[in-house]
Symmetry: C2
């Protein structure tokens, strides 16, 4: 049960078991919700969506599962500056829905954008390679985020 670096390929049934994690109803429920929902869900959002169908899955399990999924690289943990983590299904850097975020610092509105993504991905790949070598890091992940005021909020001022 290699519990360490399990961020490689493979979809979750295999991935879980291959990494020594057990496949439980709670975990399936969470992955199910995550794959059906668009957007950036907080732990509590997920709890609310899971609860009706699986009333016996507690918030604690949500947190623990998200942590596992995040370590496996299957889920991205996001921070938009309100003080709660958000989660979304991760996809490979070439995956169809690769995107980054544009966050309004005033109303916390978030826009997913895919513009310029190809150039970004290109540069990031280079950078990742370079930095990994230079600083001896095994890079698994990156974040790009832009902050500013959305049109509504900048009109307000």
């Amino acid at each position: 049960m290699p519990r360490g670096n399990c961020r490689g390929q493979g979809w979750w049934h295999g991935k879980f078991q291959g990494c020594g994690y057990r496949l439980t109803a709670g975990r399936e429920a969470i992955l199910d919700i995550l794959s059906k929902s668009e957007g950036h869900l907080s732990a509590e959002d997920i709890y609310m969506k899971v609860h009706p169908k699986y009333p016996n899955v507690g918030l604690t399990t949500i947190y623990r599962t998200l942590d596992v999924l995040s370590n496996l690289g299957m889920v991205s943990k996001l921070d938009f500056g309100d003080r709660r983590a958000r989660y979304e299904l991760a996809e490979g850097p070439k995956g169809a829905h690769h995107h980054h975020h544009l966050v309004c610092t005033d109303c916390n509105k978030v826009v997913d954008y895919t513009d310029f993504i190809d150039d970004e991905v290109e540069l990031l790949r280079e950078t990742e390679k370079g930095l990994g070598a230079k600083y001896n890091f095994k890079i698994t992940n990156h974040i790009i985020q832009f902050y500013g005021l959305c049109n509504k909020c900048s009109a307000k001022k």
Copy 2:
């Protein structure tokens, strides 16, 4: 007293007063510490450093001041995934010390890097312009961060 968008040029004496903020001992102390310290300080770090010289500046004021400075664009608020915000003096995108961060997800070690910064800055400028126009955002700021395992932590596994 235009309390709104005061992120322009000018150093802090003028900036403060020009924006209707008052210049207080606490604020000077914090800016002083920030400009003398290297690295990524938490609110409490700053408190500890400010305290000996200004024992009557409370932690609350540190938080409030950092918030103001951050809104003015004079300080960057960072998030490295441990659950406390870090702060560092901001410099303009072309400033001498512009850098991004490389974070170990295991031991939370942070490396400041400046490699590839020019290419990054170039791309980001473009992206910022494009996104700002397309989504009607007034973009003021961005974050790039790489995550991975430092050599020590990846050896441990």
